[in-house]
Symmetry: C2
């Protein structure tokens, strides 16, 4: 490996400006105790020598890396949903001169905590100040992260099997009220036979189901949960559910899907069987993924602001770093029902 060329240091700048090294440091950190002329002379020397302070050296002394890690915790690829969260994190962070490291984590829900291999960034010390956890989070991962005593904030909608008694900073959005409002909207359009399609063993889909059920109960309507066996994916789950919806009597006039992928699968399979959305059956989704707009007609769905999630995660993490002893908090972001073309008046 060839040598990296020596860079200008603070001492050379000091010599060039005929001042002491302390003065340079003071100018760099814009602490006020420097006279006008001296500051001007120093800045001129900095400019002339093309000096850029070494970030590492400062970090040692400051004991702050000014860097956080966005850790994507499952084997999924960087899905658009999480990509948008990452964007929110980065955009908020860069405004505050904070840096964002991206790392991926490979683990299975059943690995014992000690067995989880952490990415290189977490094996060093001082590289990052804190962690933003995204992706599906199982208890063993939480244990593992806690064991390294690194401040973190979790995007908690995809947390699985972790009780309410668990204490950590988390940001999520409102599954329950999301489907509650979506279902009310559908009911408001005159529908009476509305089914809900999702695998409610996922906590977040369970919460969405409860929102749907609440809306049905309010209107004294019967709730119906549609599931399907051994789906390959959520889209496949939707496809397989379509038949079950059609075979029920009385025939449902609307379906609330647990997420957009299920809605997509449903839509696709229904269309193949000659059932038109929304003419024959209305449909709503959840998440507002890119697919929602690509569908034809575009899907009415529950929007969650992914960038806001990222932003809020970053904000909370910074608060945590400034106040390590602050009690843990949990922020639930609101959702918004977006009306597009898949719900019709009956």
């Amino acid at each position: 490996m060839e040598a990296v060329p020596r860079k200008t240091t603070i001492r050379e700048v000091a010599r060039a400006a005929s001042v002491g090294i302390g003065t340079i440091s003071r100018v760099l950190n814009s602490s006020s105790q420097v006279s006008r002329e001296t500051r001007a002379r120093v800045l001129e020397a900095i400019r002339r020598l093309g000096f850029r302070p070494n970030a590492q050296a400062r970090r040692i002394l400051k004991r702050r890396a000014e860097m956080v890690c966005f850790l994507l915790s499952n084997r999924d690829f960087l899905h658009p949903f999480h990509a948008r969260i990452l964007q929110g994190v980065e955009s908020y962070a860069s405004g505050l001169k904070q840096h964002v490291l991206f790392a991926a984590l490979h683990y299975s829900p059943r690995t014992p905590p000690d067995g989880i291999d952490l990415p290189p960034v977490l094996q060093e010390h001082g590289l990052i100040d804190g962690l933003i956890l995204a992706g599906t989070i199982y208890p063993n991962l939480l244990r593992r992260i806690e064991s390294i005593h690194m401040p973190f904030v979790a995007f908690s909608n995809n947390v699985v099997g972790i009780g309410d008694e668990e204490q950590f900073d988390q940001v999520g959005f409102d599954d329950f009220n999301g489907t509650l409002h979506a279902t009310r909207h559908v009911i408001g359009k005159g529908h009476r036979h509305i089914v809900f399609a999702a695998d409610v063993s996922y906590p977040w889909l369970r919460r969405r189901f409860e929102g749907y059920r609440q809306a049905m109960r309010e209107n004294k309507l019967k709730h119906v949960l549609i599931t399907s066996r051994n789906p390959q994916s959520f889209v496949d789950f939707g496809q397989k559910s379509a038949g079950r919806i059609l075979s029920r009597q009385p025939r449902a006039t609307a379906a609330v899907a647990g997420n957009d992928e299920i809605a997509y699968g449903l839509w696709r399979s229904l269309r193949r069987q000659g059932v038109k959305v929304p003419d024959d059956i209305s449909l709503v989704g959840f998440d507002d993924r890119e697919e929602a707009v690509l569908m034809d007609p575009p899907l009415s769905t529950v929007r969650v602001d992914k960038e806001e999630i990222g932003e809020t995660c970053m904000k909370m993490l910074l608060e945590r770093l400034h106040h390590p002893r602050m009690t843990f908090s949990q922020r639930i972001l609101p959702t918004e029902f977006v009306i597009r073309g898949t719900v019709r008046q009956v």
Copy 2:
């Protein structure tokens, strides 16, 4: 801001293991000059004290940040396409204990180079060793990056208005041969009237067009370029192009789209007009984005391995860092035509 608790240092470990600090360093860097017993004693002390070496301190001495920045250069959100590239970068990097910083860049093609605002990470010195540039790259950005003398590799398919004489490390994929093979496939299925739909003012779409034209010429077929005015997006471009394809005489039996989004727009608009894919018209795309599989039937398209792009970028960047004077190189990755359901035999 509360103080961060003092962490164990190398000197404490040295005391605990009754050895010198040099020995600790030697163990950490696994240089061989340490006896079995001493190494064991040191490792034991490290474990007992929960010592994690401070990354910053090492970096100062090593003059290497062991970190690169993935810089997304346009105003687009982190699109799945680039998200996958980032994944490739990260996955290759983490295997080599390198870290990946994510940063976004906001600039317009017409800002003068000096006017481009670089993200915080590029304003410090020593934070990163090099840069991976993705997104749409205009000459002014290239100028700006060169001005800070930071080694970089560009994902060059989306480079606009930069001549061949330009020298920098780049990774791209084979636009020309991609459509060449795709078009040959379509011709092989018996099609004779095949149109190409794209805005060829984009260099990469122009190259794809040339690939298509080459295949047509080989078979003594007439090439037809379909474009449309003021599209809002590529999908919109496709939608607007559909009418133009249908109104031509003789009617085309197949269309090659410049990318999957155009293909999607085409498909959607054709379907609305009662024209079925592939029964009435065959269709192929380019890129193999997520939409391709979601279409019904799924789109036959040209696949590019996004993770491989990321991996190759990272690999080239590391080579560049090890050999700063090496001549610039350009790597073109092959593409693969994936047959799904949108091309039929005539």
